[in-house]
Symmetry: C2
Subunit: 136 residues, 2 copies
């Protein structure tokens, strides 16, 4: 099962969100998600096939943990659909950390230049993200 199909089920999305807060066992997941234990087991198997989850054996228990790197195809698709004309749509894309870094960097440096140039450096339009109503 590919990552898109894996994300299509609401129960699996809930499981992933739960795992985003830290590893968990099957019984824990079953207890908090109103589904039988074999049901959870099956979902975890599918998530494992999609690479979204990894199991770590510890004694008789099995600790499942999230593998966020497997979300890459989703990020790429979204990028391709959101910005068809310009930037990339191919290859890795930016992570949120990088985004935050860019944002900070731009705000700081544009502020510097604005102060230095006294208004000559196109002030306001910087990080105000919108662009959905593009070309038309």
């Amino acid at each position: 099962m590919d990552v898109f199909a894996a994300l299509a089920d609401p129960v699996r999305r809930q499981l992933l969100l739960r795992l985003a807060t830290g590893p968990a066992r099957v019984v824990d997941l079953a207890a908090t998600h109103d589904i039988s234990r074999p049901g959870v087991s099956k979902h975890l198997r599918l998530l494992g096939e999609a690479g979204l989850v990894r199991a770590e054996r510890r004694g008789r228990e099995r600790h499942y943990r999230l593998e966020a790197a497997a979300l890459q195809p989703v990020v790429e698709l979204v990028a391709a659909l959101r910005g068809p004309g310009q930037a990339g749509s191919r290859s890795p894309r930016f992570t949120d950390q990088v985004l935050a870094g860019l944002d900070l960097e731009v705000r700081r440096t544009t502020a510097e230049r604005t102060t230095r140039d006294r208004g000559a450096a196109r002030p306001g339009r910087d990080t105000h993200h919108r662009a959905e109503e593009d070309s038309a």
Copy 2:
């Protein structure tokens, strides 16, 4: 049908990628995607339910166009799973246009600062933005 389920089908993803290059009619989509016309119609109806697509009547034709804004829940989920501790998952998110702008902006202004601080570095015309091989 929610947006996640809508993206689960490979044919629908192909249709969306096609629509990302511009509006298209049902017959056009059917011609290039090895599926019957009613099949395309059904997929488009589901995509419409998910808000990912909008139809515009023009005579007896119907032009379907992509609605990228409907991808928001996907972006939010990915953000929540990727960076539970750090960045966002809140608010609109960045578009590729903005990303390209940020990239350019940072490179230019950091080059300026470097030039200003250290003396002789590369001149500011580095507009060759790339950022593909980072993050992992």
